[in-house]
Symmetry: C2
Subunit: 458 residues, 2 copies
């Protein structure tokens, strides 16, 4: 007997002792005829799309991201006064979640544009402080993703395509702006980053002539980082690479030691840099005509947004879901803020959730079980991607590459949405991180993008 579709029949036959082969078939697009027709329209120009995707895939995976500098955001991004960058797609202030609102107001205070949150809120309400997505400004930020002009940002240059992307310095754990904490210790750390850590990191990076991130990230994948939830290998490799140039440029031993303690004490130090590398890699794939590959996935705590290569910088959004995972003591699912951050750029380039097989320790941490479950996740994501990453290879998969290049068509057809490894922020402002887990990208973003792809395909 061969059973197709629902496993129920196969299970019944199996119980009855009838030899049965089950074919795990599901109707495309969950049987939604309107969407099936859209897919059929694209099927008609499949060859052209596949060719376009091959170009976009090559750009996405074969770029050469180099970490070249760390300078204030106003220098790197031309970021002006009274602009606050945030994670995810564009966000109207009155739809912002609590941690996002708190972080924006804290940034306004940090920059000295207001002394109190109430005053800061008035400025934002009146439009005297403007909100803008990081991605629009050439940056990426984790969780709330706040960037303002005086904050130092790492600069990643894609030497193959000449583009650049920036990101803030990861603040470490505990009370941090990116998770919506806003007390005095948060602001004090931001000042230290701007006045001491950032300039020292910048000087060290300029001294190196640039650190090859593709090589470093490939090495870290071999060491069990999926580079979203786990960055201990990449962070250690980067720290090691910074030892010599820091020793060369540091004039003040105490300042050097403070920075060394900060860098060495944070296993997630590399996360932001992986994100900037991700944007530097993905941006050149933006605008490849006809390509259905996803070039951005990002969340602002309210909406999840994607961009697609053929559709340039347009956003396709849907309400974000809330991560599920493990919580710190005293917290639970009811305390979780909906999904947030530009960090899903890591999944966009073939790391994070889809690279779970490289990182069984993370699979366990985010509640997904052991080695087999980690492998299953990677196999599942390979159903919606167009290829294996030529550089990010996994020893546990006998050197096969991680699945890379998410194809909007495949997502809509299979109903398999990208799996994102993520931190979980408390939904009450000021709480900070309460756990870590996994979350799915909402299908509606991909369906909306598909419609537009069909419309433009004519």
């Amino acid at each position: 007997m061969v059973n197709v579709g629902l496993p129920l029949f196969a299970e019944t036959l199996d119980r009855l002792g009838v030899p049965v082969t089950h074919l795990d078939w599901r109707p495309p697009a969950g049987g939604d005829l309107r969407v099936v027709r859209l897919l059929a329209r694209l099927e008609a120009c499949r060859e052209r799309i596949d060719r376009a995707n091959a170009i976009a895939f090559d750009r996405l995976v074969n770029g050469e991201p180099i970490l070249v500098d760390c300078v204030p955001a106003h220098e790197a991004l031309g970021l002006g006064d009274r602009v606050v960058l945030h994670a995810g797609p564009p966000l109207e202030w009155d739809r912002a979640c609590e941690p996002m609102r708190a972080a924006v107001l804290c940034a306004v205070r940090y920059e000295g544009w207001a002394t109190q949150d109430t005053e800061a809120a008035r400025l934002v309400d009146r439009g005297d402080v403007r909100l803008e997505p990081c991605h629009r400004a050439g940056a990426v930020g984790p969780m709330t993703g706040i960037v303002t002009r005086s904050m130092p940002v790492f600069v990643v240059e894609n030497r193959r395509h000449g583009n650049r992307a920036c990101t803030t310095i990861n603040e470490g754990l505990g009370k941090v702006l990116r998770f919506g904490a806003t007390d005095d210790t948060v602001v004090a750390r931001l000042r230290w980053l701007a006045t001491e850590a950032g300039p020292l990191l910048g000087a060290a990076l300029r001294q190196t002539g640039g650190i090859d991130l593709r090589t470093l990230m490939a090495q870290a994948v071999r060491m069990g980082d999926e580079m979203h939830q786990r960055n201990v290998a990449a962070s250690s490799l980067l720290a090691r690479a910074l030892m010599k140039p820091l020793a060369e440029v540091a004039r003040d031993g105490a300042a050097h030691a403070r920075l060394a303690a900060f860098v060495a004490g944070n296993d997630q130090f590399f996360l932001n840099i992986a994100m900037a590398a991700g944007k530097a890699l993905a941006d050149p794939a933006t605008g490849v005509p006809g390509s259905t590959l996803v070039t951005v996935m990002a969340r602002n705590g309210t909406d999840f947004g994607i961009r697609v290569a053929a559709l340039g910088d347009r956003w396709f959004t849907a309400p974000v879901l809330t991560p599920v995972g493990l919580y710190f003591a005293g917290f639970g699912p009811d305390d979780a803020n909906p999904d947030m951050g530009d960090s899903a750029i890591v999944e966009t380039i073939g790391l994070g959730g889809g690279a779970m097989a490289a990182s069984p320790a993370v699979a366990r941490f985010v509640g997904a079980g052991g080695v087999e479950e980690a492998r299953r996740v990677t196999v599942e994501i390979s159903e919606i991607t167009v290829g294996e990453h030529p550089h990010f290879r996994v020893p546990a998969l006998d050197e096969r590459g991680t699945p890379a290049g998410i194809d909007v068509r495949r997502v809509v057809e299979t109903g398999i949405t990208p799996l994102i490894n993520t931190g979980i922020a408390g939904r009450i402002a000021g709480t900070g991180q309460i756990g870590a887990g996994v979350v799915r990208a909402p299908l509606a973003c991909f369906t909306a993008a598909l419609e537009q792809l069909v419309a433009e395909a004519g």
Copy 2:
């Protein structure tokens, strides 16, 4: 049909289409009746031995090795004038292999006891320079394992048992003393290590109050190090841990930068420290009455020697085998020196060859194939070990521990000898490293130890 023993019959039956179950049984000790009788003698006191092994195993795996200092060998080991420590069991000068002889003579020149190799050779010939195994002096050294009084050594303290073990600073790749290279660059590096690198590392380590190596090594195992052939994770984690204290103690930016470049540039920097941790862990298991666990495996390029817990510091030796593996361009098996170095202490404590499943990248590198082959090696070694390491756990094995505690009885009974991951030295003096691979411990060491165990069991 059930086939027991030789697979040949099963294969034949299988070809004939006869359903056959093959039981991979081999006679104990390869059917050697004399040895079978020895094993039977020990079987009679099995419970007592198992209890002793449980004590020795606990000491071997639950010690707390802390990296506390780096000081000259004369301070740490009381090493006197005109003594050269070498790897492996005791070695008569006229039986020493070429790279070992060259390295000893180079060390004599380095210490200023002679200016020429010929003069140095006369001193050794006459016994005016004395050779001694590292292990006897409280040290371990990779490959030739040379230690003399002015060389700086890392000091590892086992805080659970109060014992200490020392090791030289890993010299890096290329022309290095441990592989029998002896030119001026080798001596110049040794001088720099003694005058600049060692004192700086010592000051930094004293500043930390000690680095917990068990935690660091457990983390590195999770990152794909088996810690013999692959130490990139442990080396990076250690470099990161040294950043802050080095910044605090370094007075001279240029010296600091030279050391940082040296540490950051050597993926095997941690190997020697893993070895000292290994000796610090294994030494307290030495002398547990009745225990058949191996506490030392070491090679001097001529003999392979083991020590066994119940038999204290006596050596049981047999001629070393020659590693097989991958060779650098221009070299092949004919150029390989027989097996050499104290580094097999790593295998003695449950890492290296037996931990191959943690490090599929190494399995490939040493020619053992991919993930399945790496796992097979670890399963095989678990047949000769008494337990799983409680701290060195492998994500790819769903958090199971590496096989640890080699039991002489099991080795002799099964004929499975420990598998050692190793570097390969050129057999011509001055050549240096020519490749890396795997080698087996010779069975005869274990049989000899078994005889002594039986003799002492009465």
